[in-house]
Structure formats: C-alpha cells, structure tokens
C-alpha cells in the first residue's frame, strides 16, 4: 500500500486527495475494529471527545466524535475540537498515517514543528494510543499448545524463557529447547574431537523462579503513601523506614510526584532532583533503566547518580593503564578465544574466577558445557581464590587460597620465578611491551631492597612458596589461558583494597607470557564463542528509546536505525553512587567518572554540588537495591531519615530493601506484564558483543504474557502519566505504545531481513545461524602479538587513541603493553596509592592494619551471589530462599549465610546453622553459620546482594537480620582518585547470637 501511495502522491493535490481518503478509511477502521473487538469497544467508552486531524493550512481534514463508545465523523474542520493533530502538509500526513509509518519522516516533521498535537495531554495521549490500539487489534502472538495454554516468550538477565499461560495466569517458565526449524550451531574441531553446543538456551536459577516473584506477596499492587507524610504540611522525614503506608489512588500519587517535581525545580533551581537506579533492571531494550527512564528524566532535568564501574573496579582504575581496553572498562576483548583455547591451550588458571556462580554476566549456564569440554580434553586447571568456588568444585584441579586482597603478592612472586628462571617470552617482552626492565628491578628487589620471592609472598598471601614455584614453572612452560574474573575483567579480587594492583599484575603476567600467541590469552571459556558478530541487534547500553546520545551508546548505531527524538539533560550536576549519603548529609562530595571513551576519562574529578546548581532536595529512586549492594550501607538508611531530603519517591516492583524509606511508592510491573524486545545476554556498551558468551545468538520478543498485577504499571506507562502532568507526553511517547516501540526496534535490527514481524511475534524468538568457519572472528590480541593491524570486529579503541596509525598497536601511548604506564606518568606519577608500575601495596584494611585486625581478625569476602543476581531473586518469597545454600530457614525466618572455617567456628563455639552476629565498627548482621573447609582459617565468606533489609531496631543503627553484608564493607574507594568499591577488604568479628530478637 505504502509504495502505491508514494507512487500516486506526486503532487500536492493528489497527496491531499489521498489524505482525505485515508481519513475516511480511518473512520471505517475505527468502526469495524470496535464491532469486531470487545476490548476496543470498551476502550472507546472511556472518553468523550472530538479529535480533529487536519492540514496546517486548514485546507483538508476530518474530525472524529467519540461518544458513549460510538464513533461518528465529519469531513472538514471542526470549530472546537478537544484534540487536534496538525500536519504541515499532506505528504507528512501520509508518511505517518499510511502503514508502515515512515518513522524518520515523522521524527523530522516533529523536530521541525511540521507535525503537531494540540489539546489536553490526557486526551491527546488517549487519542494517539487509541489509534495504535486500532492497528494492534487482531494481532496474533504466542503459540497455542493445547488445553487452553498459550506459550509465550520472554527474556531475562538470566536467559530467555518460554512462558506458559493459562487463563491469564503464568503456569510455567522453562528454558528454550530449539525446534527442527531453528538454525544449526557451530562446531569446533580440536585435538581429534568435535565440539558442538546443545541446541537450547540455558537458564539461571533466578529466572526459573520468576513465577514466585511475579505472584509474590511482596509485590506492590497499588500506589502507597507513608502515613505520616503530608506534602502540604508536616513531612516527618525522620520516620522514613519505620512508618507504615496507606493505599492511595494513582491520581493522588501522580499528582504528588508531579507537584513535587515542579515545586523543587521552582524553589531551588536545576539539580534539585536526584535519580538513580540499580546497576541492573528487568531485561528488555525498551524497559531497561538506560531507556525509558532516561527519556523521562532528561526531559525534566535531573542530577543523575553516576555509577562506579561496579564489577570491573581494578580493571578500570588499574589494568586499563597497561593495555588500554577503555571501551571494555579495562577488561580484555575476547574474540575467538573459545576455539583457540580448545585447540591450543595446555592449562587454564582461574584467578578470582567463578563463572559457575555468576554466569559471566547474563549468560545463564552457556559457558558450563564449554568448560566441561576442557575437562574432557584433560586440560590442566588451577583455581586461585580464597573460597573453593563452584567452578573449582565442578571442574577440579589445584586450588590455591591466598589471603583476601593479597593476590598481587602472589602475582609478583610468579613474575620473580619467571625472571630468575628465565621462564618468560623474552622476545615478546622486548618487541611488544614497554618498561619491563624498570619493573624487573622492582621485582628483584633492587628498588626497595625486597626481592618479591615466593617466600616473601608466603608471609603476605599465605601460599606455600614451593607451590608458587610449581605454579610458575607450569605456567612458564605451558601455553596458558588466564581466566581473571568470571567474565574476563570481573572478579572479586578487583573489588578489594588492592584490586587495582591485582588487575594490573594480571596484565603484566600475561605480557610476560606472550598475550595473543596461540593458546596464550585471557578467559575461561566464558566468552569468545564463534558466533555471528555482524548481524545487528542492539544491547541495552545502546539506550533503547532514551534518545540519549550523551549518556548511552545510542549514537553508535541505534539512533540512526531507530529514528527518535533526541533527549538532553540540561543539568550538569551528578552525584557519585557510593557517595549519595555524603552528598545529602554533608552537602558536598566528589567523584571520578566512569568514562569508557578513553583512558584519560577517569582522571577528570567532578565535585558536588556543581557551581550554580541546587543541592539535591528530591530523590526519585528506581527500585530498592542499594542497602544490599553498595558499601557501608547504614549510611543510606541514615540519609533517608534526614529532612535534607524533602521528598523521596520510589518506583519499585517489590516492597523490599530501601523501598520502604520512600514517601510515595509507585508500583511498577515486571517485564512479563509488558511488551519488550531483546537478545540473550546482549548488553552492548562496555561488553560489546557480550552475546559471545552464548552458544547461540537468540533474539526475542518479550510478549506481554499477562496483564499487570493489581494496579501496577510498566515504568514506561508511569513515566508517561507523569509526563502528561508536566506537558511532555507527546515528546515522551512520540505517540507510540510500548508495542509500537517493539516494532520500531524490530525494524531497526537486521531481523526483518530474515524473519517477518508476524512470524517473530508468533514464535517469539529467532536463532541466528552460526557463521561459516572462514567468517569467524579472529582471535583477540593475535594481531597485536604478531604486530599486525587490529583485525577483531570492534571500533575500540577510538581512532584518535592510536599513536601511530589507526588499528596499529594498543591504546596506550606507546601502542604496547606498558609495564610502566605512560597515562599514570602524565596524570600523577607520585601517587603512592597508584604507582606508575604495579607494586605490592598492603591493603588499607587487612592483616597489616594491626589495631583493627586485633579487634576484627576475620577477613570477610562478599562476592556476587550465586543463585540470586544482586538483589534479584532474593527475598520476596522467591523459591531461591528455599535453596539450602542460599538462605537457611531457622524458626520460621530465612537467614543469610556466612561461611566459616571449622577451626574458626570451633574457637568461637559456633556450630552448623547457629545464628551468629557478624560485626565491625560499621554495623552488625545476623547470619546463619555454615561450617566449611571451602575457606581457610581467618577468611569468612558470604555474598553481597541481600534484598531484605530488616533492622532489629532503629534503621541505620541496629543489627540487620535481613542479610545485608554490605553494611559491614568499607565505604571508602580503593584509591582516593577513583570512585570504586572495595567490598572484599573487610575485617569483622563473629560471635554466637543469642539475642531472643533473632529467633522470632
């Protein structure tokens, strides 16, 4: 139809004629849709209005009268319509009204005021949505599997899923087994064997339990107001966290929020509104926190909460200076490494690497089968971790357990053995690295008089010197992969007081062994599968419908492919996430940016407040995760109970964590209750091509499987409702429903080349064929090792960051791996916390801080949790709580677990499953003790990420029995010139807990 229309609409007169016919057709379509579809009939009964569609010069138009569910229509211009859609000319009208809509033309018309919408926001939005629903009516989606059950698809942080729905209720959520029509996977031939992954997607525990969370009694089903909060009177801010809530209507809640936005902007000026989210959100390109949220907040102007590079820390603030990789936050690229590892590698060293616990990230158990292949091939494995982790438990191999935050000492001792025994790649070091001799002097003790021998290491890290020599000799004589972190460049060791130096030393070790040569690379089979990197489907970091070209990766590809109105935040102020309490309570703080563009981005300190900006007065929080995920988190509870925050609104799905510190709670629904679209484990941005953790690329529509529970709404819808009250509803939605946006995004991808929208909607997913063997991505760092131009498929580093010639060498000034970092030399060569080359710097909280160590002799590590994903999946009566290794049920309460060595437990009179108090000067957490040999004496293990915050007395000042171990972890950054978390350097004491309050 569109092409015929385009062909006919050659002159203005013809366009105008077609416009009139289209409007007439619209009248008929409205009527017939209402006759055919009851939901649409009901819809039309919601409003009484007159909607005019016309050309700007009033030369043509038609008006529609909606009254008591009936549609009547008249040709021409109505004298007093409620809603008017104004087209600059007939051409624009046809671009918009004749399907498929020419989105670029429509967006251009909007930007040039060639397309307008007049009338009260509520009615204009309703009218545009009604037109969308008219087109949506009759759309078929999902698969009928008989007995009244429909199978839909969804996607989550823990993998894709089939969702079985009967009578409007989810009855089952499963991983996806591919059918005969789905594409065949790749095969890698190595050492006489052929390795092919199973034709299915895997699923994480926290995805399998979604049914229990969707129907959780902790769901927030209607808007709520704190009982003693009066926006027009006394606010009683000090009662946040203890007061009860009362149900209110959506209108009241939205009016309060909209009025507070207006009030603080008018009273205090720009910057008064703070907004932040957790690091993760329910999956979906359009619903993610980098999408609808930014489109909304950019349009009201806000002080964003600036994220620290969470899980990367030491790689970002440390390792990056040695090898660049800034676009990966200092972590290595990973192309082609699965095949190279299977074919060439002789040993894998997993160092602070537990992919079986963290799934890499977002990739369910996709990497598991590949690591099992390593075992099948008999490849030697070593696990270095203070905890005998799940990857070690599954795969076996040598376990070395250094004292927490001393891994750098172990690394330097390995380098010492290599140097003194000549077990390193001297030619590579000479040709491809810079500054080795200076570092060598330090290792040999010529700089500080301390040779970094295995014996020296033993006093620090506690590994028998002979085992370090054995490891170094093995590593120095075998082609070795180093899996540092569960995803290359993650790892708990990068989140401790010496995290920078640990990550830096990982790069230096690999530089000594010829990084990039066959069988010598980074990774533990978690990334780097031979799948298609050419097919375009965006990751969430590309910003979805945000229109945000500054704060997301939208500008790279998505903005051109999915034309949308750009959005800009006019507020320059920001607050570092780990310093929100200081910003609020002290009124000033500072941070360093997470800026992946270039190495030097991290050097630009920013201060709060920003000159000419208002301090934060209102906090619009998205979800409730911070007390369970940030550090020294009693600070956050105390912040909430201050009247320096005049208003707190929390938009959350569940009543958990810090949600109960809000004045107004807006109930959001889950991703199973709204439309979205996404790909398995594709986050884009920092982990470009992150889908290469998966065995298959799988793109999915996230069907709206069920209606939102109670009165909950999608984030998009909530923002739209507030936008209506602030006059930018049309700019927010662009007249598109969430379903329309899914189609717009589908059209932006390469999917239309291989599957129709109708087929995709029905089946719900598409499996991309694996590329031909000849077209697989080359191995990362291979070209660098061989001094060829970079050949892996990514635009990183940016062209300007090459010193000599684009694609030649690395991002560092020398273009080589730098043992002595030129970026640090330029920035602050005398920083004792971050020297120009990696050195052993004892932890600022650890066995050398004697006074504290005497008081708190146990070193607590709190890595990312295994069954839950930060706070996702925990609490809220999720079935995860029933897992014996997640929480322990004692006297009716589900306690968080702390793992303690049998000797330490015995010395304290602690038995299996006893309640214990884990404490230090920062606070106390009541846990159930698990006695184990999986940590050595002096180390205790728990997880971060409790969704439950349950103080036994005054919030922020009492023991928590919910399990927020983050209350105990240090609030300071790894080094001053950073914005980082050092959660795994945490001294505590543990004693039996006998207080009766603990056993209610």
């Amino acid at each position: 139809v569109k092409s015929i229309v385009n062909l006919l609409a050659k002159s203005e007169a013809l366009s105008k004629l077609i416009f009139s016919l289209v409007l007439l057709a619209m009248k008929m379509r409205l009527g017939s849709t209402a006759r055919k579809y009851p939901f649409f009939r009901t819809r039309l009964k919601e409003k009484t209005l007159i909607a005019q569609l016309k050309l700007k010069d009033n030369s043509a138009g038609r008006y529609f009268t909606i009254k008591e569910g009936n549609v009547t229509s008249g040709n021409g211009i109505h004298a007093s319509p409620d809603v008017t859609v104004i087209f600059g000319d007939a051409r624009v009208a046809l671009d918009m009204l004749v399907p498929p809509r020419d989105q670029l033309a429509v967006i251009n018309a909007m930007k040039s005021f060639h397309l307008g919408l007049e009338g009260p926001e509520e009615l204009t939005s309703w009218w545009m949505e009604t037109l969308s629903l008219m087109l949506f009516a009759g759309t078929k989606y999902g698969t009928d599997v008989g007995k009244g059950v429909t199978r839909y698809t969804s996607n989550t942080n823990g993998g894709p899923a089939f969702v079985y729905v009967k009578e409007g209720k989810i009855i089952r959520i499963t991983p996806i087994d591919f059918d005969d029509k789905d594409a065949q996977p790749w095969t890698i031939r190595a050492r006489g064997k052929a390795f092919t992954p199973p034709r299915r997607t895997t699923i994480s525990p926290y995805t399998l339990v979604f049914k229990s969370m969707i129907y959780s009694p902790d769901r927030i089903l209607y808007p709520m107001k704190r009982v003693d909060f009066d926006p027009n009177g006394i606010r009683n801010c000090e009662n946040r966290g203890t007061s009860e809530y009362v149900r209110i209507s959506w209108d009241e809640a939205l009016d309060i929020v909209a009025n507070e936005i207006k009030r603080v902007k008018k009273t205090y000026g720009p910057g008064a509104i703070l907004n932040g989210s957790g690091s993760h959100h329910l999956w979906g390109i359009l619903g993610y926190w980098l999408s609808a949220r930014l489109r909304f907040f950019n349009n009201i102007g806000f002080t964003p909460v600036a994220h620290n590079p969470d899980s990367w820390e030491g790689w970002y603030w440390g390792a990056m200076h040695h090898w660049g990789q800034s676009m990966h936050l200092g972590a290595p690229e990973s192309y082609g490494t699965v095949e190279d590892c299977l074919k060439e590698c002789e040993m894998v060293v997993f160092w602070s690497s537990d992919p079986e616990a963290t799934s890499g990230v977002y990739a369910a158990f996709e990497g598991t089968v590949r690591r099992q292949w390593l075992k099948e091939l008999g490849i030697k494995m070593v696990h270095i971790d203070p905890f005998y982790n799940h990857t070690a438990a599954l795969l076996g191999g040598k376990w070395l357990a250094p004292r927490p935050a001393t891994g750098n000492a172990l690394a330097l001792a390995i380098a010492y053995v290599w140097i003194t025994e000549g077990l390193y790649d001297k030619e590579y070091v000479a040709q491809r690295t810079h500054g080795f001799d200076q570092w060598k002097e330090y290792i040999l003790g010529k700089e500080d008089g301390i040779p970094k021998t295995p014996e020296w290491q033993e006093a620090e890290a506690g590994i028998p010197a002979r085992e370090v020599r054995a490891l170094a000799r093995l590593w120095g004589t075998r082609k070795t992969y180093l899996a540092a972190g569960g995803l290359s460049g993650f790892g708990s060791a990068c989140r401790d007081a010496t995290g920078n130096e640990w990550a830096r030393s990982m790069v230096c070790l690999m530089a000594m062994q010829g990084l990039g040569k066959p069988g010598v690379n980074m990774g533990g089979m978690q990334q780097g599968t031979p799948i298609d990197t050419n097919f375009y489907f965006p990751g969430y970091a590309e910003g979805g419908l945000s229109g945000d070209l500054a704060g997301t990766a939208s500008a790279v590809s998505l903005y051109q492919r999915m034309p949308q109105l750009p959005t800009v935040n006019t507020v320059y102020q920001r607050v570092p996430r780990l310093r929100i309490p200081e910003a609020i309570l002290d009124g000033h703080t500072y941070g360093y940016p997470t800026d992946p563009k270039t190495i030097e981005g991290q050097f630009l300190r920013y201060n709060y407040p920003t000159p000419g900006h208002s301090p934060v007065k209102m906090y619009y929080k998205y979800g409730g995760s911070h007390i369970g995920t940030m550090c020294e988190t009693n600070r956050y509870a105390n912040m909430y109970r201050s009247d320096k925050l005049e208003f707190v609104v929390n938009q959350s799905i569940w009543f958990e964590g810090e949600t109960k510190f809000a004045d107004i709670i807006l109930p959001a629904c889950t991703s199973f209750e709204r439309w979205d679209i996404s790909e398995f484990a594709n986050c884009g941005g920092y982990i470009q091509h992150s889908f290469n953790q998966c065995n298959h690329r799988v793109a999915l529509i996230q069907h709206k499987c069920i209606e939102p529970l109670g009165e909950s709404k999608s984030d998009f819808q909530i923002f739209l409702e507030i936008a209506k009250r602030l006059g930018f509803a049309a700019m927010f939605s662009e007249g598109s429903t969430e379903f329309d946006w899914c189609k717009r995004l589908f059209d932006a991808t390469d999917l239309p080349k291989v599957i129709t929208w109708e087929e995709f909607l029905k089946k719900g997913y598409y499996v991309l064929p694996a590329p031909k063997e000849e077209l697989r991505a080359p191995v990362s760092f291979r070209a660098f090792a061989e001094d060829r131009l970079k050949d892996t498929p990514e635009i990183a580093p940016l062209p300007a960051d090459y010193s000599e010639q684009v694609f030649k060498g690395l991002q560092t000034q020398s273009g080589k791996i730098e043992f002595v970092c030129s970026s640090l030399q330029r920035f602050d060569p005398d920083d004792p916390e971050r020297p120009v080359m990696t050195k052993y710097i004892p932890a600022w909280e650890g066995h050398h801080t004697s006074e504290l160590y005497q008081k708190y002799p146990l070193q607590l590590i709190t890595p990312h949790p295994r069954y839950s994903f930060h706070t996702m999946g925990d609490g809220k009566r999720s079935w995860i709580n029933e897992i014996k290794d997640h929480r322990i049920l004692l006297d009716g309460y589900y306690y968080w677990i702390v793992r303690i060595n049998s000797k330490d437990a015995h010395a304290r009179g602690i038995k299996e499953n006893d309640l214990v108090k884990v404490f230090n000067d920062r606070g106390a957490v009541i846990c159930a003790a698990q006695i184990t040999e999986r940590v050595g004496p002096g180390t205790v293990h728990s997880y971060e990420g409790s969704a439950v915050y349950d103080p036994l007395g005054e919030p922020g000042r009492s023991p928590d029995r919910g399990g927020c171990m983050n209350i105990l972890t240090p609030g300071r950054s790894i080094i001053e010139k950073s914005h980082s978390i050092a959660a795994n350097s945490c001294l505590v004491q543990i004693e039996p807990w006998t207080d009766s309050r603990g056993v209610k």
């Binding site: 499963t174 087994d177 399998l208 049914k211 158990f365 438990a393 076996g396 376990w399 020599r469």
Partner: protein, 280 residues
C-alpha cells in the same frame, strides 16, 4: 516394556538447584489431577540436593547428590499405603493418588530416602511424579532434566530386560542398595558422595628451600600390607587415593622420592582425610 529411568551423574552436579527450582515451577500452585496436588510454596522439596565436603582445607572437594523419589520397584511406600493410594505404572513411575492418599501420614515415614513429604494444608503425602503428566502429553524430558545445565540429570527409556546390562556397562548404581528397594533412579560416580579419599602433599627440602615433590611415587597399602593403589604426586606434590570405603580401618601410605628417605604414614580411615604436607 520400556520404562523411565532418571540417571544422575554426581560428578557433573554443581548444586545449581535448577532441578529443585524447575520442580517448584511445575508444581507450586499447579494442580495436576490424577498425578499430584499443588506443592506448597515453602518448605517442601521433591528433589533435594544433598552436599558433601570431603577432606580438609586446603585439599578438599565437594559433591552433590540430587535425591528425588527413586520410583522403586520394591517401594516401601506402597507397602505402607492403604486403599491402593500408591500405584506403580507400567512405565515404572510410582504415583501417590492425591485423593486416595488423604490422611495417610504414615506413608511419609515409610520412604527410606526421605523423598515423601507431608502437605499439612491438604493432608496428603506428596512427592516427585517424574513429571508423568508431561511425559503423558509427549514431553521427552522432565522439568528437572530440562533445566539441568551440566548434563548431570538425564531421562532415559530403557527396556526392562536391558537395564542391568546397561547399568553394568556404564557404571550405574543405586543409592543405598542395601535397602533393596530396586530404584529406577541410577547414579554415576556415586563414590564422590558415599566414599572417601586419602590425600596429601609431598614436599622435599632442597638446600634452604622446599620444593613440591613432583612425580614422587605414592603407594597405598592396606593393613595386610597389600598394595591397593599407586600414584605419582602431581606438579604440586599432591596425591589422592579416592573411592575408599569410609571407616574401613588402617591404611599405610608410602612415599618414595629418589634421593630422599622413604616415608610411611599410617592412617586410621574414618572419613576423607588430608594428610597435609609430607616433608621429605
């Protein structure tokens, strides 16, 4: 007649609990008349993953044992039930009839594997149905098998006459065979959970340093001085004799390393033991 068998490889189980959770997803709040009434959301477990740590820091390992209903041929629960509340289908699956079994609490205790649980609210005993309602609809996997990421769980249809041969060929065995319940659930590498090891690390003094005694010959002898096992210490000087019976008496570990005096260590084996560093 082909019958269903669940085959569980202990070595491949990593305690992810996907089996346990998939079971909840299938049964909590879902009623499958004739097969099972809804499972309560809290406190029940139709497939329990038991864990066992062996050894001592820093030489340890862990094994996990998923235990569902064993669908025994000689099922003690059936004997304990009245009114035909429990039946064995021709495909091997044991089903507790959610209607007929009402009030029969004694069934719970009859199971030596603790695989049956009491639903307080409905007043019925409940357990794993091997997802019979799905298999009857044509599914080829149970929910636990489908969700298992490592291949630790597999569902197989095996001719009744062939099972013994297959079990022998693939080293499959029953858990706690002494109960003589003839389970249809078979395990592989069960020793990781039920048996124990003797391990140690051999080190040798050279000059003022210690080195790992890579390649040291380690022999395990029983009380009668018969050789039970021989092994070479690995690059780290570690050795491990596994698959020994717990509380099986006295053993002797003999370490031979050229240039050093031979060492023998007596072990009274109760459970897995790490002998620590054996310094030559």
């Amino acid at each position: 007649m082909k019958r269903w068998h669940l085959v569980i490889d202990v070595e491949k189980c990593e305690n992810c609990n996907n089996c346990f959770l998939a079971c909840k997803d299938e049964h909590v709040d879902n009623d499958w008349p004739g097969y099972a009434a809804p499972q309560p959301g809290r406190g029940q477990s139709w497939i329990s993953v038991h864990g066992k740590e062996r050894g001592e820091f820093p030489l340890t390992d862990v094994a996990y044992l998923p235990v569902p209903c064993m669908h025994c041929d000689n099922a003690p629960c059936m004997k304990a039930s009245n009114d035909g509340a429990i039946s064995k289908r021709s495909d091997g699956i044991v089903i507790i009839d959610p209607v007929k079994a009402r009030g029969q609490k004694n069934i719970v205790k009859a199971c030596p594997y603790d695989a049956i649980q009491w639903n307080e609210q409905l007043g019925i005993p409940q357990k794993c149905t091997l997802c019979a309602h799905l298999l009857d609809e044509g599914w080829v996997k149970t929910r636990c098998v489908q969700a298992c990421p490592t291949g630790a769980l597999s569902l197989r249809q095996i001719e009744e006459s062939e099972i013994n041969e297959i079990a022998q060929a693939e080293n499959l065995e029953a858990y706690r065979p002494e109960l003589k319940t003839s389970p249809l659930v078979y395990y592989k590498n069960l020793y990781r959970f039920t048996r124990c090891f003797i391990a140690g690390s051999v080190a040798a003094r050279t000059g003022d340093k210690e080195e790992c005694a890579d390649g040291a010959r380690v022999t395990l002898l029983n009380a009668g001085n018969e050789t039970i096992g021989e092994s070479a210490a690995d690059n780290f000087g570690d050795f491990k004799f596994d698959n020994l019976e717990e509380s099986s008496g006295t053993y002797i570990v003999r370490v031979v390393y050229p240039g050093y005096e031979t060492k023998t260590i007596e072990v009274d084996l109760t459970q897995s033991v790490y002998l620590g560093t054996i310094l030559l």
